[in-house]
Assembly symmetry: C2
């Protein structure tokens, strides 16, 4: 039995969204489970000095041309949200709260990504996250309690620190065993690496 | 007759090197000439606040793992130079000096890239650039005069400013007509764009 692929992502990252639309299929093609691992990318930016692309002169404009073009190529819906980058705390906490229920956590993450980047909804408002969670059958009251729970807040910090410890500085960031791949534009290499067992 | 593809690059950029190994073949496959346009990327970094990847915490380490892996995938030689990023002034000036002799300028650029990233030679030393140029039949004395010529220095500044004016902030940066593509990892999209006439 081979180990799962680790798929690190930040909900506010549009390239994380694009990768999220392909990664499970790539894993399945090679008989590998994919573990979805939300994190707060801002914590990595403190180390790298990076800032959100959208606020970077020249790069921001290019990104807004590259993203819809990339999405059309993948045949994936794309709509720019009203606030970029969104505050992804509620979305990320909701997912780490559910981390022991892997299927449900993954379904929630996909629904959040679809709402945020596919429909342009602002996941920075916790009420939006709660509404998305309800739409896939998650109990509102339990989720609201979890979002306010200091243990869940700490868990997200811990998961983010662990990601940084593995060298994650961007989104998406994928490990096949310990081999790191950064970026939605590395997914073909991820696919090839799994196919060949490295090169 | 369709317009040439514009291929902007910085000699100190290893991803510019990787792209340089594929771009002419992609152009040829679609009957498009490729214009090679060296520039000084540091001028763009002043706008974007970027710094060389190699000096960026976390990203630098990743890059040194990604680069040789990417080069092996493309079956292209790769050897890290002693100084990164190299000072590419002499290399870039030599190429803009020859810009009216497109074939020769391109041969020189390829030879410089091969020496720097394929063999790990330090092109920051002008003598290295002169030696590379001589090896493809360029006259040493004329080149040394050109490298010291204020008009050539100004020409490189002008070419760099013109690149910034088109939105170039990274290396490689490719325009098909006015459609911009940034990164060695966009070359498959460049190929597809030429194939389909956009999407």
């Amino acid at each position: 039995m081979t180990a799962p692929i680790d798929f690190y992502f930040e909900f506010a990252s549009p390239y994380g969204y694009l990768a999220s639309q392909r990664i499970d299929r790539i894993g399945a093609r090679h008989g590998r489970e994919v573990r979805w691992r939300p994190m707060m990318l801002g914590a990595a930016f403190k180390h790298t000095g990076a800032q959100p692309l959208i606020h970077t002169p020249m790069k921001g404009e290019y990104m807004m041309r590259d993203l819809p073009r990339f999405a059309r190529l993948l045949d994936v819906p794309f709509k720019a949200p009203p606030v970029m980058p969104a505050n992804s705390l509620a979305a990320s906490r909701a997912c780490v709260w559910l981390e022991d229920e892997d299927d449900l956590a993954k379904r929630l993450a996909k629904a959040i990504f679809a709402a945020h980047w596919g429909e342009g909804r602002d996941i920075g408002e916790p009420e939006q996250v709660v509404g998305i969670a309800e739409s896939i059958g998650i109990d509102r009251t339990r989720l609201l309690e979890a979002l306010a729970d200091p243990a869940i807040k700490q868990r997200l910090k811990d998961r983010t620190e662990a990601a940084l410890g593995r060298g994650v500085f961007g989104s998406p960031f994928i490990f096949i065993d310990d081999e790191p791949f950064w970026g939605a534009d590395r997914l073909d290499q991820v696919d090839a690496w799994l196919e060949r067992g490295g090169w």
